[in-house]
């Protein structure tokens, strides 16, 4: 190309203040000479070049010069940040080729097995944002359900781990804990971390914010302390206190998972293979040598049948063993929410009751946390098998867990705002008497979410009755808290349709299984 052509292909970069989440979007004016000459089409992908950097983005065509002028190329926040350039710089645009690894995805759709190299090419293209949402959806569906055999799950785990940095703590036991989720109020991490750290085992667990649930551990911890810490601060804190309760943030650890999740969640595709690879790659990247998995099972939990839980456990074990990770999976009671509170402030109340050995502490939250913490403590070679629970209980009852929690809060930085319960509330009453035989986890999560949790810290649901309790007609089942009338209205609308509690005189509460 001569200099003239070169200039013809240049546009001025402009940052467009539109948040397109995990998808890069480029905005081109319809009268832009490049757009007309190239015959681009809206939603085709383009590649944008600037000062040796390049990114790919989906193209949106704009007819308003105030958004983007004909001699400009606009990029959404995400895309702009990735290009690491300044507004006004000269950029060049070309039609993007589909990522090369899509060829392997198409063969996967056709039912073939892929190699480790192919999985690495795919995760690398995803990590470099070369996949559109559609392409990610295609990959997820092709590998969903029974699309991956267990050796492919292993290859995918390895590929995800290879895409990003990996921490090394230089210790023989680096413990971590993960719950596959779906149970409201299941905030055991905030008890397990102080207990395990007080024992002296390193547990550098970072937490996530809620995406579809009414609270993630990060949202709840934020009631007490700062959770967004700089990597070096976090590192020092973990080495000093042996544990932390900070936000994982957008880490460079196995970043593919963070990207895929933006497609997986809205699609609601259930893929055990993807789940196992994502979790294990994340934990291995964080430097874990020992992992305790919590798999709750219940009629409204993520895993609904014992046989599915067993299958999932075996898949975790198969991959974990081959990745040299000491992995133990416990199948737990997921028939109802854990504790009483659902939503950040209410959950903190329950957690502090447990740490303070207050008689109002919910027994189920306390017991589950002690048993899981006990299992992790037994990762310590100096602890005799079966002694973990007693050690955990001693740490809790002696106040050492509370002390450790206070140190962690102080180290992370105590929260300066004081969060209270939402000022508005209403009660949901039993419309018939009997025994509580079922509580719908999903429904109560939805109520808490509509009430404003987790954005509104004081919003949520406080359960006054749980499975097996006998109630009279008109008794309060749970109380809903909200900060804004609109939220209260949304939540009330939903509870009017259905409380989420099932009563029965003769029906039996579904079987309870313990596998701790």
């Amino acid at each position: 190309m001569n200099a003239d052509d070169e200039n013809q292909g240049r546009l001025k970069l402009r940052r467009i203040a539109i948040d397109t989440y995990r998808e890069n979007v480029a905005y081109l004016h319809r009268s832009c000479s490049i757009y007309r000459a190239e015959g681009f089409q809206a939603l085709a992908k383009v590649r944008v070049f600037c000062d040796g950097q390049q990114i790919e983005a989906v193209l949106n065509v704009v007819d308003d010069e105030r958004i983007v002028a004909p001699d400009e190329l606009g990029l959404s926040e995400q895309a702009f940040a990735q290009l690491c350039a300044e507004g006004g710089r000269a950029v060049r645009v070309a039609q993007a080729e589909p990522p090369e690894s899509m060829e392997a995805v198409r063969r996967k759709i056709g039912g073939e097995r892929l190699t480790g190299e192919e999985y690495r090419a795919i995760t690398s293209d995803i990590a470099h944002n070369r996949y559109s949402k559609m392409e990610m959806a295609a990959f997820l569906v092709a590998t969903g359900q029974n699309g991956l055999d267990r050796d492919e799950v292993l290859l995918l785990t390895q590929a995800m781990l290879d895409t990003g940095v990996r921490l090394d703590w230089n210790e023989p036991v680096v413990a971590d804990k993960h719950c596959i989720g779906g149970i409201p109020g299941n905030r055991t991490s905030m008890l397990i971390v102080p207990i395990v750290a007080a024992h002296g085992t390193l547990i550098p667990k970072t937490s996530s914010r809620a995406i579809t649930s009414p609270a993630g551990t990060a949202d709840t911890m934020e009631v007490l302390a700062r959770i967004e810490l700089m990597p070096d601060v976090l590192d020092r804190l973990i080495r000093t206190e042996r544990g932390c309760l900070a936000w994982g943030g957008t880490t460079r650890l196995a970043p593919v998972d963070d990207i895929l999740i933006s497609v997986e969640r809205p699609l609601g595709i259930d893929s055990q293979g993807q789940l196992v690879a994502s979790i294990l790659a994340k934990k291995l990247a964080a430097g874990a040598t020992h992992l305790l998995l919590d798999i709750p099972v219940g009629p409204s939990a993520k895993v609904r049948h014992m046989r599915d839980a067993m299958r999932l456990r075996k898949l975790f074990e198969y991959v974990g063993d081959r990745m040299n990770l000491h992995l133990e999976a416990v199948i737990t009671d997921g028939r109802q929410p854990v504790g009483r509170g659902i939503g950040p402030v209410l959950e903190v109340r329950d957690i502090m009751y447990v740490l303070e050995n207050d008689p109002r502490a919910p027994v189920d939250l306390r017991e589950k946390s002690l048993r899981l913490a006990g299992r992790i403590i037994e990762f310590d070679p100096d602890v005799r098998g079966g002694h973990g629970y007693a050690i955990a209980r001693e740490i809790l009852e002696s106040g050492r867990a509370l002390e450790k929690m206070r140190r962690i809060i102080k180290a992370q930085g105590a929260q300066d705002k004081e969060f209270g319960l939402g000022a508005l509330s209403f009660d949901v009453l039993a419309d018939e008497g009997g025994m509580v035989v079922a509580i719908d986890n999903l429904h109560l999560a939805r109520v808490a979410r509509l009430a404003g949790a987790p954005i509104s810290k004081g919003a949520g649901v406080d359960l006054l009755r749980k499975l097996g309790d006998t109630v009279d007609r008109g008794e309060v089942l749970y109380r809903v808290y909200a900060a804004y009338p609109a939220n209260l209205g949304f939540a009330r609308d939903l509870t009017t349709r259905r409380s989420g509690f099932l009563m029965g005189e003769n029906e039996r509460v579904p079987g309870y299984f313990v596998d701790y």
Copy 2:
């Protein structure tokens, strides 16, 4: 909800001049009270209500009040048009539920067969824009490759046909013709339609514009006549002239296909089931009773092996028979482009040579068109089997086809602009001597496209050599035309890397099969 809550949930509608193609996008300011209270997340789907209408859209979060203010809800062009409301109207926004039929898609991903009712629910949700790109990708992948058995293809065809209006011409023979594509220059429709219409058989064929190819029939016809006609004008024209060469546009006929294609193309998923259902639903909706299918086979065609062509033909026949459509499929020579010209103006030149019985007419384009037209003429009960070709040839040689073409051009409205060949050109030379043993359809299409076709009518490729020709080193293989230097440069870069022609002394030209 009381009146206060009601007002809290209202925003002012604003049209945002961004073309998001087939995806609805809603723009909400980050400080908008609704966004904050509901805890929406970018790229989550929202439902927008206005005056009894509702649509769904993907949410983008905006930080610039010039694009959308905190009390406004912006909608992209597509979404705004669908809502059929005026700017400034009060709208309400709520979190959208995923479309109900996604449950069936998830079961399809799991390998289950779906029922006719489920396919109808899916196509209806897609037609009402309730599916996001991701969800459509999930559906396409789940039904791709061998995801659909032939009875499911039938059910899907029926479902697509049921979603939209269906024309009825009240005639016993309503002919149509379709080529499954992939061969540049294959502009037989512009010869078949005048020949068949001159015979008197009704052929209400509408055409598409190119999406990924260097020209669609609509792009090429536009060189000669107006192609965007109002439905009533088109209807009158077809009844008078017995045929037309107009743009199908965004019709209400089997609209699901138009929507799915926006995901299918960029993903490059190859699904025979989807292909068959899409084509047949479209043709049946347009009122066709008889259909001739052209399935080109060649090493760089869409269908690469004879066995795949046979499988596709049988699937078409199976579904066509059960939909009461008289269907004949012919497998044709797809080893190289048809005719000499690739790109609108060049293709028109070839077509006019054929219609004018000019000795410069490309033989392959003339012969293929006559044979296909002959097969369609034999749909006429008064024509004896085997006589179609001779009738077609007589219509062409007598000048009646040219006369019919002139009438159609006049009826549609002759083009007032005159399109010439691109002013810039370069030659691609043979870098070795020998016999032309292969021509890469995809590569030549790409060259023509980079040169500016179809947007730039005079851009494209003019083939001077074809399969079986003997050339000396340095002889011209083809000439590339462009209107702009940048385009010429793009095309030249590509041809420098590879011409797309393969020479060989001893190698044989791949076998030629005729099945007319």
